[in-house]
Symmetry: C2
Amino acid sequence: MSDIDNNTPDTSEDDGRDARHKARMARKKEVVDAKISAAQTERGVIVITTGNGKGKSSSGFGMVVRAMGHGMRTGVVQFIKGAIPSGEEMFLQRFSEECEFHVMGEGYTWETQDRARDVAKADAAWDIARRMLRDPAIGLVLFDELNIALKLHYLDVEQVIADLRARPPMQHVVITGRGAPPALVEAADTVTEMTPVKHAFQQGIKAQRGVEM
Amino acid sequence: MSDIDNNTPDTSEDDGRDARHKARMARKKEVVDAKISAAQTERGVIVITTGNGKGKSSSGFGMVVRAMGHGMRTGVVQFIKGAIPSGEEMFLQRFSEECEFHVMGEGYTWETQDRARDVAKADAAWDIARRMLRDPAIGLVLFDELNIALKLHYLDVEQVIADLRARPPMQHVVITGRGAPPALVEAADTVTEMTPVKHAFQQGIKAQRGVEM
């Protein structure tokens, strides 16, 4: 915030700075309040986190936890990862009443090297996802790494979008993974591109429990 | 993935496509495996999620859940939000043994419009954060919206970096919020910029429980 001059410890300027801060924050509050009044539609939303940066899956799991905090039932389908139980899986397994958790696939596609088997797994995973999308008792679903399955054409994007559109009106859907297809971005309400600025891995640091897995 | 031709349902091409897939994935596995072998350092990392896109805080909370899944003790300090209990707070309050949770501040700075009070709250929050940074029993800490407090010069970035550097060697730190200061980015191991592609709010949709709060 270049408009805030706080480089000097000169306390004699504090009154003026505090007054400017108050005036600027009052203007900001007017803008924010007006936007909040304008946004009155309540319905389930489709949220996509994509891009090559770290944080896509963890943001999806954060939303699952947030929803559970509000007493909502949730569902998770992991489309690609899963050969190794992740921290999220181990944690959410404690809450089978609140969170229905399915891990599909057998790890990354470069581990299996078997397209036909990957497609069959993706189809089976989507069957479970579709059942969740028909259940109004589930308030939020997370389809983790679904974008990868779509990018690799393991699933048909038009069929996926049709199933998403037919879901209960208040149900939220969070979809993660690199390379979200344009048609899915078009169908979504909120889309975030996550871009790596730097990554510990590039500096020779091993994937760390709790952070990467 | 423009190199995958899957627009035709022509099954006679399946064998060739599957073979090409297998060869490409085998090459990819070599590259990935080599990178994994090269990354052998094990130590606590500093992860920053910044930018204007949605997903920064939820990705931090996802990493907290991930760490708890591995049996790690965690700590959370929320630096700005907190006037309204969030879904995360309500959820994580169930796990006081595993996650020490502190919400500081009284909502957004444009709600308080009182700089002196905000600075005092930020100082008090950093005192709690510093205590966590001295506790080797805590495996991962999340300082949610710390970047905002730094951007507004509520806290001194050099002091914050010094306290981060003095932490136990295996402790992970996740820092979220828009406008991460360059010195903090420099000190971090993994940094992700989250950019909004679109947001439901722009389409008149109210902030939804489980998604935005």
